[in-house]
């Protein structure tokens, strides 16, 4: 095990804190040295100060990864005390981060495969990371990539330009119809009618379940990224489990967070 050690508690320095939205900031972190490679969909455990409400680290999915340059980016959604503290970090601040954790998205077998990515909320973070890895790796993905984003209103749509700039087809759904199709992502023609070889989704659980159901009905494999509450993040405490089809408990922080939807018993 030692010989193949890959994970570590890395001391990062914040190099940029960029606000993308009233509830979201993007933190760019620099390590002193290069980093072990990581897959989009893997996550980190970030140390935050103990407060009256929280003692543990905050698990956050990797948003952007440049392992060679020792650089990662995290998309921080301000929900609890920990994430609010993180969203107020400034360039030069130090962060202790367990990196990289879990099992990320599996790339399609064929570089020609037609892919659909469906994201909502902070689920955008790992999917955008996946898109970047697909497009910018040594052998960029050649097949079609459609990226469908769901949000409450137009103002909540994140990274639409970046997605297009990476050469993906950017589609949107908003609940109020202020941008793209009106309604939830499941109503969107690209999901309902599109022909894809693989679906990837990350966002609120009800959204992922709905997307997985549509994919399953069309016999298209679908990978989902779960966000169960966890303590250790490294498979020791077994707090974050999810049942599979056979009612066995799968450990989300090691076997996941990304799972093939059809093995899950959710």
């Amino acid at each position: 095990m030692d010989t193949q050690t890959k994970r570590a508690d890395v001391a990062f320095t914040v190099v940029e804190n960029r606000r993308l939205h009233p509830r979201f900031v993007r933190l760019t972190l620099q390590a002193a040295d290069g980093l072990q490679p990581a897959q989009a969909g893997q996550f980190v455990q970030v140390r935050v100060p103990s407060s009256l409400h929280s003692f543990l680290r905050v698990p956050i999915s990797l948003h952007e990864i440049d392992a060679a340059q020792g650089r990662i980016a995290l998309l921080i959604q301000e929900v609890g005390e920990g994430s609010r503290w993180l969203s107020s970090r400034a360039a030069g601040d130090r962060l202790d981060v367990l990196y990289p954790l879990g099992t990320g998205f599996r790339r399609p077998a064929s570089a020609e495969a037609s892919l659909l990515l469906v994201g909502g909320g902070c689920g955008m973070a790992p999917l955008y990371g996946l898109l970047k890895q697909l497009k910018q790796g040594p052998k960029p993905h050649a097949g079609r990539i459609a990226f469908l984003t769901g949000a409450r209103t137009a103002a909540d749509l994140l990274m639409q330009d970046e997605i297009a700039a990476l050469g993906a087809e950017a589609y949107a759904c908003t609940e109020d119809g202020s941008a793209g199709e009106k309604g939830l992502v499941t109503v969107h023609p690209v999901l309902q009618e599109g022909a894809f070889d693989q679906v990837y989704t990350c966002g609120p659980t009800p959204m992922m379940k709905a997307v997985a159901a549509v994919a399953q009905a069309k016999r298209v494999p679908c990978q989902v990224s779960l966000e169960n509450k966890m303590a250790c993040g490294i498979g020791a405490c077994l707090c974050c489990v999810t049942p599979d089809k056979d009612q066995h408990h799968r450990c989300v922080c090691t076997e996941g967070p990304v799972f093939d939807a059809d093995i899950l018993g959710w």
Partner: protein, 315 residues
């Protein structure tokens, strides 16, 4: 100071230093190998194990609380046979290799936390562990708050506790610790009962039974409604109980409950613990136990204390 002696004894079992990791917080050990030098630990108590594999309780199993957390894992584990056959060999190999490299003296001890719902299950599993050479000791869990039958039932009455301990004592010849529940009126009485039944030592405290509520949903947070409270929040209760028990029994005491740094660990030694277990802190910093062992040495250096044994029970 030139030479510090960090070795301590839990009865027949000598540890290279007083810091072990607590069952349920350190998995099967290797989960932490990337973050922590496992051979820097005095010992590690592996995940609560039962005769047969268990799937444990439904999700959600965890809630954060002030300076701590509740868990309701419910002893999800692979069973004692898989533990012995598949999980112990790679851990033992890892420790041997690390030891060969660093030469830190005694080996890091592997203890197994053993749980069950019937005396028969306890005994059958203990018999298998008795034959497992990699296992330096057994920590008998008679106080798990998260499984229906057994677990805590055994741990809150002196007579039932003594019954299961005597039975396991006959089946397991190695160092036998009994992990005590803090959810009792008189923990010293419990400790005396298991001492009388043949335990080589007691380990305390297990988790306090607690509960958390989501007022937006008007529902308990945990699938099991109640769960086990651990973390710094319980440390004052744990310290008091270890102090009471150390005065009540002759067998060694292993102290745990909310230890996050060397200061906490030393406090437990001072109230009578011969060794400590680091638990919930491993979730916040996977290198906690290693850092705590180093911190105890630094304190001894600063205070001019040559032998860690001289700290034990000074209060």
């Amino acid at each position: 100071m030139s030479k510090l002696n960090l070795q301590t004894d839990i009865g027949r079992l000598t540890l290279k230093n007083p810091v072990m990791t607590a069952s349920g917080t350190f998995g099967y050990g290797l989960e932490y190998a990337d973050f922590c030098h496992l051979n820097a630990l005095g010992g590690m108590v592996l995940k609560g194990t039962t005769l047969h594999p268990r799937e444990g309780n439904p999700y959600p199993r965890m809630a954060e609380t002030p300076a701590g957390m509740l868990n309701a894992v419910g002893l999800q584990n692979k069973g004692v046979k898989t533990l012995i056959k598949d999980l112990l060999p790679p851990l033992e190999a890892h420790l041997k290799a690390a030891e060969a490299a660093d030469k830190t003296g005694l080996p890091t001890r592997i203890l197994v936390n053993l749980s069950g719902s019937t005396v028969e299950d306890y005994v059958e599993a203990a018999t298998l562990l008795d034959a497992a050479e990699a296992v330096s000791g057994v920590e008998l869990n008679i106080s798990c708050p998260n499984v229906k039958q057994g677990g805590m039932a055994f741990g809150t009455r002196p007579d039932t506790a003594a019954e299961v301990v005597s039975a396991v004592r006959k089946a397991y010849r190695g160092p036998l610790l009994v992990k005590l529940s803090p959810n009792v009126t008189d923990i010293a009485e419990m400790a005396r009962a298991v001492e009388g039944a043949g335990a080589d030592g007691v380990a305390l405290i297990n988790t306090l039974l607690g509960m958390e509520v989501d007022i937006e949903k008007a529902k308990p947070v945990l699938s099991t409604i109640t769960g086990g409270l651990s973390g710094p929040c319980v440390r004052p209760v744990a310290l008091r109980m270890v102090w009471q028990v150390a005065k009540a029994v002759k067998i060694p005491v292993v102290g745990m409950g909310g230890i996050v740094d060397a200061r906490d660990a030393i406090a437990f030694l001072m109230v009578g613990a011969s060794a400590v277990e680091v638990g919930t802190a491993n979730f916040e910093d996977p290198a906690s136990a290693e850092k705590i062992a180093a911190g105890i040495a630094a304190y001894m250096e600063r205070k001019g204390i040559a032998d860690v044994r001289s700290l034990i029970g000074v209060i």
